[in-house]
Amino acid sequence: MSVKTLTINDTPVAVEAGATILEAAKQAGITIPTLCHLEGVSDVGACRLCLVEIKGINKLLPACVTEVAEGMEVQTETAKLREYRKMTVELLFSEGNHVCSVCVANGACELQDMAVTVGMDHSRFSYRFPDRPIDISHPSFAIDHNRCILCTRCVRVCAEIEGAHVWDVANRGEKCYVISGLDQPWGEVNACTSCGKCVEACPTGAIFHKGETTGEKTSDPGLLDFLVTARKKQQWIR
């Protein structure tokens, strides 16, 4: 097993070759903020919260999809990064319709927590107030596109863990949204096994248990990593 050595915030770290900077940081006990990363499924680098500075590279790179290299010097907490992270979260808020006070996920939302983490107290960008639908055709679950941040965690968890691949991403830019089946009402998608993994995976209140009211959603993203470990390593540990 070959090992790469690097520094993160001036702390020397040694990790297995092929690991990502995010994994290396975790091993070194350094927390890098993430939203689209989910333990147990592949990474896509969608949210840009995990951006880090690497000496000698003049653009910021997402830690979740950047492999470590020998002698890399990584910084995760510079003023510039902090500013960008805050801006990213502000943009997420201004892009959708996030009304925490009446959201099912109020108090248990990764986006809300992230706003606190990055110290966002308001958005400097004007809100777009897009007109987005809600689909509550599924007997057990519902998706409110107003609250979706397009992290694609639902897409990956459904395809990679459940193997049903109900979710996908349609369109581009401001018209981009997640679809179920061939852009059918969720309740009509035969492929859906109603396993509920997407509910656990969704970091916001976008996907929730039908009937849940304000602040009632509790999600358990760790459950998914547990399922993966149980399946791959035959270890039922949490």
Partner: protein, 474 residues
Amino acid sequence: MSKTIVIDPITRIEGHAKISLFLDEQGEVSDARFHVVEYRGFEKFCEGRPFTEMAGITARICGICPVSHLLAAAKTGDKILAVQIPPAAVKLRRLMNLAQLTQSHALSFFHLSSPDFLLGWDSDPAKRNIFGLIAANPDLARAGIRLRQFGQTIIELLGARKIHAAWTVPGGVRSPLTPEGRAWIIERLPESFETINLALDLFKNLLDNFQTEVENFGKFPSLFMGLVSPTGEWEHYDGHLRFTDSEGNIVADHLSEDNYQDFIGESVENWSYLKFPYYKPLGYPEGMYRVGPLARINICSGFGTEAADRELQELRDRAGGVPTSSFYYHYARLVEILGCLERIARLMEDPDLLSPRVRAVGGVNNLNAIGVSEAPRGTLFHHYQVDDNGLIEKVNLIIATGNNNLAMNKTITQIAKHYIHGSEITEGMLNRVEAGIRCYDPCLSCSTHAAGQMPLHIQLVSFDGTILQEVYRD
């Protein structure tokens, strides 16, 4: 020369409004209008939301009485699910509404209205508020604040927060009362009884000096509407709707909220964002009715609890029958607090309050549903139409304060006619006009589905439209 006086905004009420007083050519008041000048649009932006969110969304209409919306929304939700909710949930919801009535009435009496009674209508407006009251009568002010806190804490014990506790849900409630919560309520009950008895004694002593107010603050015949229990007793959560007249005759009874459109019409005027509901069979505006504490005590046979029934009898004796003066709203509020406390005390003995079976589940089984509850300020209707999946297609809310709109306009006209003559208007006169509105403890945040402070703006406008006098108060 005719002119108009505008009071804008009106102070010590919840929300923002203004009053215009129209003077005729002799300088006498010819008409008065209570304008609600805020627009909020809740009915519109609820469209497209899941009905299960309605309690959470509509509770945000108001920070004073969110519980009323929580209840009306949940009751409408129960009907969409077509479920009968568990008995424990009914009792828990009742407990929360009783706590809500107590805290809101305490706020209205101690914080908002008692400065007028105790410090005087003509006292310095800068001190005529809860802080002035604290300086003048610290014990009473403290007791009042603690009584409100009692109600607020019960709400918090049930819903985990004082304001906007999204605890009522279609099908029931989220969680029962804890044994610790019950112990706290039982411990604080005696003090709450003491405070309300003190307030009642105080108010009754003052009442004899307020005969002019009693005669002029909205004393006129009107209908009264509200919920009564199946046996005709005072009710705040379930039961049926009843209309009575000023002589105490039952005009209509056993009405169901489901048919509210058959007996309540909603009219609009181009000078107010607040709708004007009226009793349909009598037409507009003859179908004027009043809701809220005064209406509830007028339509019922009694409270069914000992102390409140005694006080109700005394109130009726003092009024010489059915009280028709809106000044009696204050009195009715105090009697209601007493009745609520007695009911809370009674509920404390009910083991159901701790039952874990508090929520029925169901699908979308009705596409059209109407829920009703008695808010502190009166009867509140929520009406939802949903699609097959439960997304809201249409919402209509009839808010307690809205029900009183016609009566409030009539009240200020009566007060203005009595107190204001000629073009010189003193602050004390204006305060009385405002106080006429305050009798109803209107909640304009709710009624226009608006938030904010209530500074004061009065305009005196001549018959040709020129402003003769303008008074501002921040």
